[in-house]
């Protein structure tokens, strides 16, 4: 199964405070462990929301673009890993071993990734095709 481990933002990460060299070294070692254990599928760190934006959807379909930064710091995302593990608990155990990504209290949230089959009947072949075609295009444009 695949899980995403989501690093939540902190005051520092939102303020673009770069991690210490010690932290980078520790995180590098942790990443290497994930790779060597064969569980790492990918992962990225994100710029603070001051460089981000939101598209907000109204009830009747209207769209509004809101530029960052956003205020609810602890709910924001600062980075993620995509992992292949054999159980959800394995992912939890891995993240317990992660060095604290920031120099202050923070959180890593762990979520199971939907596989196409998890959507069941609601996800019709047409919808699935649309979604997957999009993904494939994104992939091929990389």
């Amino acid at each position: 199964m695949r899980v995403m481990a989501i690093v939540k933002a902190t005051e520092d990460s939102e303020a673009s405070v770069m991690p210490s060299e010690e932290m980078l070294t520790e995180m590098g070692a942790f990443n290497e462990e994930l790779v060597k254990a064969g569980v790492m599928l990918g992962g990225e760190g994100l710029h603070p929301t001051s460089k981000g934006a939101r598209v907000s959807f109204g009830g009747s379909g209207e769209r509004t673009v809101i530029d960052g930064p956003f205020t609810e710091t602890k709910e924001l995302i600062a980075g993620f890993w995509l992992l292949q593990v054999r159980s959800f608990d394995e992912a939890v155990e891995w993240m317990k071993r992660c060095p604290n990504p920031h120099n202050e209290p923070g959180e890593i949230e762990i979520r199971q990734v939907f596989e196409a089959d998890d959507f069941g009947e609601e996800f019709t072949p047409e919808l699935r095709e649309q979604e997957d075609r999009l993904r494939q295009q994104v992939e091929q444009n990389q």
Partner: protein
């Protein structure tokens, strides 16, 4: 801590730590069977103590220390028995001279070598392929005997017996637990890759009720392959095998229809292919090619799979490139099945007639006599050539 929580935590720790634990113990004791017993002892101790005391901060180190203490206990027992029989021989003398710190000290940087040694040992050519597969899944994949049995649709007792016999064979043949030297390395690595691909194919070939377990088996094979890439990052065939598995697995969501029927590659809904795996597979293949050494059979097959993965529609498939990969593959393996596939690719790249000509050359091949894909390939190419002729004969439709 709740008992159930503790059990789940121990299970997760075990999945992460057991291969490295067994690998370190195997180096200490020189016997994978003894190593696994010691690791199991440590697991039992964890199951006894962690629910009450909590999971230690460094569970891997805890398990290793516990297992090492059991190992030292065992050696002392043996020594006492030896003394009783007044056989204070060489072994004890040697140990007295060297002391015991070499037993106690396992440096972190050796863990990688230990794990690689364990993989090479579990995949040793002295064992039959099915024994290698079972032992690798057990020692390196940390699957239980029951899990292996379920995945391979055989009885648990059969798997248990296979593993016991494999360990005995390794001990009797005095197989050293080490990374083979340069002279042996290529052949031994081929043996390891064969085991990993056998595990993958067992999962890939399956269909029907056991689907879920089988997908897990493919994921396990990919995980083992990625571990091997981490341990031996400059081996193009290791990278090639992982890329091949990832590219093949990327088609999982598209290869069966609603009624469970198999859908051939060229008819698959490509929008359902798994883009994460395709991206990884293509990158892995690039890494293999960048090493600048001639590509082996796995990397060449990955190259073929990559040509399909890159094509958004079947019409965009680079068949000429596929033919080139088949040329390489045929030169290495000389397999008539490869030549058959090459003929089909030639037909797709240069027109059905060219493919049919090559197929005619294969019709006398004894290895392909009765091989159902030969007439199937001929039929396919004939149909395409018929369709082409029909198209050429008919006048273009008037524009509407």
């Amino acid at each position: 801590m709740e008992r159930e929580d503790a059990r789940r935590a121990i299970d997760a720790v075990w999945r992460i730590e057991s291969a490295r634990l067994i690998a370190g113990l195997a180096r200490m004791t020189g016997d994978v069977g003894v190593a696994e017993d010691l690791a199991q002892d440590a697991l039992l101790a964890a199951l006894e103590q962690w629910p009450a005391a909590g999971v230690p901060d460094n569970p891997g180190a805890w398990l290793m220390t516990t297992a090492k203490n059991r190992a030292i206990d065992r050696i002392r027992h043996r020594e006492m028995a030896a003394r009783k029989q007044e056989q204070l021989g060489h072994e004890v003398e040697l140990r007295a001279r060297h002391g015991e710190p070499d037993l106690a000290a396992i440096a972190d940087d050796e863990i990688g070598d230990d794990l690689l040694s364990l993989i090479f040992t579990a995949c040793h050519p002295v064992l039959a392929t099915e024994a290698r597969v079972a032992l690798t899944l057990r020692l390196v994949g940390s699957l239980t005997t029951a899990e292996i049995a379920a995945a391979f649709l055989v009885k648990e007792s059969t798997v248990a017996q296979r593993i016991v016999r494999a360990k005995r064979t390794l001990a009797e043949a005095r197989v050293p637990i080490e990374v083979p030297g340069a002279a042996e390395r290529e052949q031994r690595l081929a043996s390891v890759l064969e085991v990993i691909y056998a595990i993958f194919n067992e999962g890939y070939a399956a269909s029907g009720g056991e689907e879920l377990i089988r997908v897990d088996l493919c994921e396990e094979a990919m995980r083992l392959g990625r571990i091997l890439v981490g341990l031996a990052p400059r081996e193009p065939e290791v990278l090639g095998l992982v890329a091949l598995m990832e590219l093949q697995a990327s088609r999982f969501p598209a290869r069966t229809g609603a009624a469970g029927e198999a859908i051939p590659l060229l008819e698959q809904d490509r929008s359902r292919w798994d883009f994460v795996l395709i991206g990884r597979g293509l990158k892995g293949l690039e890494r293999a090619e960048a090493l600048g050494r001639p590509l082996g059979p796995y990397a060449l097959q990955a190259g073929i799979a990559a040509c399909h993965a890159r094509a958004r529609t079947p019409e965009q498939t680079d068949w000429e490139r596929i033919v080139a990969f088949y040329d390489g593959l045929a030169a290495i393996t000389g397999s008539p099945v490869v030549r058959l596939n090459r003929a089909v690719a030639v037909g797709m790249a240069f027109g059905p007639a060219a493919g049919l000509e090559l197929l005619d050359g294969l019709s006398g091949e004894p290895a392909l006599a009765g091989y159902h894909l030969l007439p199937a390939a001929r039929g396919e190419l004939l149909e395409r050539s018929g369709a082409r002729k029909r198209r050429q004969r008919s006048s273009p439709a008037p524009p509407r």
